[in-house]
Symmetry: C2
Subunit: 140 residues, 2 copies
Amino acid sequence: MTFTTSRGALTRGTLAKRAGCHIETVRYYEKIGLLAPPARSPGGHRLYREADQRRLRFILRGRELGFPIEELRSLLSMVDEHAYTCGDIQAMTLTHLTSVRDRIRDLQRLERTLSTISDRCTGGQVPDCPIIDEMLGAPA
Amino acid sequence: MTFTTSRGALTRGTLAKRAGCHIETVRYYEKIGLLAPPARSPGGHRLYREADQRRLRFILRGRELGFPIEELRSLLSMVDEHAYTCGDIQAMTLTHLTSVRDRIRDLQRLERTLSTISDRCTGGQVPDCPIIDEMLGAPA
DNA sequence: CTTGAACCTGTAGTCGCTACAGATGCGACC
DNA sequence: GGTCGCATCTGTAGCGACTACAGGTTCAAG
């Protein structure tokens, strides 16, 4: 079992498992400066604390919400310095929400197009296909 | 005016403009083997024909429909060899359609989460924010 | 003290382009 | 035929957000 070391520190693998990400993601976030370089064991292994786990969870939760890394970097520094207002965060979120809605609309248009053209197919062994014809010729 | 050369060949820039893509995309598609290496002028400039324009349009239309490059490679070789049935193409399209629908569902979930949490904001100069609290604590 | 998993480092690959630098070609005009 | 300026040529690096690998070391359990 790999849990914690003698003084309660977490290894990289354990941190990743607990926070719910790939082990290499932890190292990646350190490299790009989202996670601070942690303490090391005498042999050079990273040793994390509970605070690191909370910070990583924050980042991962932000990613799940679709925030890009650079926005998370801003969010983290605002939180670190307690320098934010609800209005600031809400504005960032609403901007982000707009882009999510745009993406949904784009995909819905695509969905309609794809279902329309595939509905026109007869299927089976027929050596002609309206999808190919559509791609060869006029746009749908 | 840059249209066609003496024998009706298209330059790379003209081809890109006519087909509707970035000039560098043409070279990229050649590099990855979607477009065949075209004839060259004595000085080494690419010279394209109408058939190249049709092929490029096919690829771009496929990209607009969201097909990944590798699927377009398959589609192109099937079309080149007249070796496809409507059923084959329809199956590819339906698989692709499913993944588009999955992505829509994921984004809709995200949209609901983001609008729910931003609705809880009071906004303005308030130094606490439910969005941040959410990211620091329990998942929404 | 041995064993095997976990970790260390740096780097390359993913996808689909786009951008750049530095050199050369092309065609229009004079 | 000379000059001008745009277009094109080549190879390579960068984007975003990781993930995978190679080749070596450390850790901890038995």
